[in-house]
Amino acid sequence: MLPLSLLRTAVNHPMLVELKNGETYNGHLVNCDNWMNINLREVICTSREGDKFWKMPECYIRGSTIKYLRIPDEIIDMVKEEAQRPRGDGRGRGRGGRGGGRGEICLNSSLYNSHSE
């Protein structure tokens, strides 16, 4: 699974976004796109020094200004469940811990196809 798909799985969950300028935005993810542009609701913005705070009902953050995002631990478990679901088919959930084979194939095909030289 790709980083951006993990982000898509995190829609409606709370997260922390730190921008390149050090500001942090805490809020629930409404939407995101392939450029990592995101839309948050119920946002608390904290200044770089940690001394100033703003509250806003929603905000839009341009992907190119993001340093990183921190998401709740349960998202990874959700992803593992999603990976196992299509393979369920009455064979039970004992298949491939991390959705191993399929995950790697997804990784390879997007790494070696989508980025043009």
Binding site: L4, E104, H115
Partner: protein, 134 residues
């Protein structure tokens, strides 16, 4: 991209516990779970390690999705090298205190520089808000 031998790839680093250095100087250590062509990373069970001199303190941080352009390097921690490094873990409050006083000092120096520049008629540029401390 090709599968030719001698091609650097992060695929082999997946599920390894790696040390990541960011452009802002932060050190993160976590399990690399996924990557993409921009070297965007997903780290799991991540800790932020704060170094001051030979001491360090860890803060657990959970899951990170890091935008690739903010990554300087990824490294594999070698246990032998780590033992010989002379690095010692310290309570995180101590380390944070030390870091705070160091940063206050640096801030003073930066302010003095800015003042000197302003007196000569030069204004700080907007690019200064993106700080790369290393």
């Amino acid at each position: 991209m090709s599968y030719l031998p001698g091609t650097a790839s992060l695929i082999n680093e997946i599920d390894k516990r790696l040390l990541i250095v960011l452009r802002d100087g932060r050190t993160l250590i976590g399990y690399l779970r996924t990557i993409d062509q921009f070297a965007n990373l997903v780290l799991h069970q991540t800790i932020e390690r704060i170094h001051v001199d030979k001491q360090y303190g860890d803060i657990p941080r959970g899951i990170f999705i890091i935008r690739g352009e903010n990554v300087i390097l990824l490294g594999e921690v070698d246990d032998e090298k780590f033992k010989n490094s002379g690095l010692e873990e310290a309570p995180i409050d101590e380390v944070l205190e030390k870091q705070r006083s160091l940063q206050l000092q640096k801030q003073k120096e930066i302010e003095e520089k800015r003042k000197a520049l302003r007196e000569r008629g030069l204004e700080p540029s907007h690019l200064e808000s993106i700080q790369e401390d290393f």
